[in-house]
């Protein structure tokens, strides 16, 4: 393992016209030292910090507002994270990625139209579940369990 080895995730917004396979092809064309793994959401790029940064800088040019990048602690295929070894189920970190992927098109739009004036109305604060409603849910659920 290279001492300054780093891993980054390249995530595509749903609104991006680019496909993960196109990203992977472009990364191969660059022929840097970085190792690339194609995934459903984009790519995992791993290698020396310099080569990873170089690869990502070039990849971003394909769709500057639709490509998002973050660090990843574990290298690709690491047995402590890889689902192939862990016997299925969501990979740790999947839920975070899934939740944020849903709003990436909005962020992408925000980046493209950052200078336009906006008219954001104050959002209503989320109400908490009342105790009475919570008791009702528990009762409904326990009835279903008894009957079902």
């Amino acid at each position: 393992m290279v001492s300054d080895e780093t891993t980054k995730m390249v995530v595509l917004a749903e609104s991006s016209p680019i496909l993960p396979s196109e990203l992977a092809l472009r990364a191969y064309e660059l022929s840097t030292d970085a190792v690339v793994k194609e995934t459903c959401y984009g790519l995992i790029v791993t290698g020396s910090e310099k080569s990873v940064d170089e690869t990502i800088k070039e990849l971003r040019k394909l769709d500057p507002s639709g490509i998002f990048v973050k660090d990843r602690g574990f290298p690709p295929g690491d047995s402590r994270r890889c689902r192939a070894v862990r016997g299925g189920g969501p990979r740790p970190g999947f839920h975070q990625l899934e939740r944020e992927s849903n709003i990436l098109p909005n962020i992408s739009y925000g980046l493209e139209n950052i200078e336009e004036p906006s008219d954001v109305k104050g959002r209503e604060k989320r109400k908490k579940l009342t105790i009475d409603r919570f008791i009702e849910i528990i009762e409904e659920q326990s009835k279903e369990d008894v009957n079902g």
Binding site: D71, R72, G73, F74, I103, I107, G110, I114, S118
Partner: protein, 152 residues
Amino acid sequence: MVKILVYPSNSLILADLVARFGHEPLTMMRVIRRKIKEVGIDSPPINVTPEDPKRGLKYAAVDVPSGVRGRMALLDPLIEEAEAAIIVHEADYSFGCMGCARTNELAKYVIRNKDIPRLELVYPTNDDEAREFVRKIRDFCKSLTSTAEVTA
């Protein structure tokens, strides 16, 4: 370049936007990488070093659940290094057990008490909110750049 602590500390959007606007995001992923790469540390979960409990105890007393102290031990290097912070509220994915919930509260409290520039936002739900969200982060990053130049 200013080191900006982002919270939730594993956020893709925050890490990307901070880096995009020219600063260094402090994220949980780099702490994890250090943990798994350091020579002499076993695989998780057997990777607790004698230093970790001490780090956790900086923020919470010994009778506080170990889950909170353990999480705070991981966040400690980020809090220590932070020169500015961006906190985003209503992150559905950081919902979890009491360990997660209390750590979220404690971490935000510790960051608020630290004398550093801070931006607090809510996760956007539509295009307009997202535009406002991005703009606020950009303006915050810009203001940090000008402050850093003045200080230097």
